[in-house]
């Protein structure tokens, strides 16, 4: 009998403890603990080459290309991108095109390249994919 009573009370404790943890879990926003999970609306507009990635070697060669170089210089190192992002207008009278390449050795990280017409303007690393 005693044994059964203690079993019931430990279930009660477990339920009480569990609901405290669950209630706290609801109050905590786990996104705050992760490095960058901000998902913008500027994800891919068109997937061009689903298998496209950048190897370490391609990435290091790509980073040596100077801003203002011809787009063809980037294309010689990295062929078709994984996807195109929507075109944007930042500078007056110029429409910018953006293309993304996941890294072969770290698929969560993308290299985003911005072109203005045939001119390569620059790159950025995007860490949230």
């Amino acid at each position: 009998m005693n044994h059964r009573k203690s079993q019931v009370s430990s279930v009660k404790y477990m339920l009480a403890g569990g609901s405290v943890v669950a209630a706290l879990g609801l109050m905590v926003d786990p996104r705050g603990f992760l490095p960058t999970t901000a998902t913008g609306k500027d994800i891919c507009q068109v997937v061009v080459q689903p298998e496209a990635t950048l190897t370490r070697q391609e990435l290091s060669r790509l980073l040596t290309v100077q801003e203002r170089s011809d787009k063809a210089q980037i294309r010689r190192i990295a062929q078709n991108p994984y996807c195109k992002l929507p075109d944007i207008q930042i500078r007056s009278g110029v429409t910018a095109q953006r293309e993304a390449y996941p890294l072969a050795f770290d698929s969560q990280t993308w290299l985003v390249v911005l072109y203005e017409g045939n001119e390569y303007a620059g790159y950025a690393f995007s860490f949230r994919h």
């Binding site: 477990m14 403890g17 943890v21 960058t36 207008q89 500078r91 303007a121 620059g122 790159y123 950025a124």
Partner: protein, 153 residues
């Protein structure tokens, strides 16, 4: 059952640990960002001339905000520069930075697209484009980027 009691004891122990995690998520303010301009202009927003503050310089678009907010045009990050202006950068927009001067108590750190950066009476907005030598050229911003910054998207 001792096992069940152990579970409840663990959940009691976990509760303060979870609370502690929440309290530690605020990071200290990062050092101001040094943005070297391509143009060699003597006066820029945040400087002083004859004891007066310079609010805007060449290349800044001045907007009458009337206390309204400005919003992150993309998912990105805000930091202060050495002149206390906000520098907005986004991994979705390589090769460009946006400088916003005149905001009161701006929000610093990671922002989602459309989140408020801050508000103020007069906004001085500049678009900066990366140069091959690592400096940033002040360029004429497109209307579209200003509209994206002034309205919640």
């Amino acid at each position: 059952m001792p096992g069940m009691r152990l579970v409840s004891v663990i959940s009691y122990l976990l509760a303060p640990a979870l609370l502690g995690l929440g309290a530690c998520s605020k990071a200290p303010a990062p050092p101001p960002l040094e943005v070297r301009l391509y143009q060699k202009w003597e006066l820029q927003p945040g400087d002083e001339i004859a004891g007066r503050a310079v609010l805007g310089g060449l290349g800044d678009i001045s907007i009458d905000l009337e206390g309204n907010a400005v919003y992150a045009p993309f998912a990105g990050r805000t930091q202060l520069d050495t002149r206390q202006c906000v520098i907005f950068s986004s991994p979705d927009v390589p090769a460009y930075l946006f400088r916003l001067c005149g905001l009161n108590q701006p929000r610093l750190g990671e922002l989602k697209q459309g989140e408020a950066i801050g508000s103020g009476n007069l906004l001085y907005f500049a678009a900066l484009r990366k140069q091959p030598n690592g400096t940033w050229a002040v360029v004429e911003p497109a209307k579209a980027i200003l509209e994206r910054t002034l309205t919640k998207s």
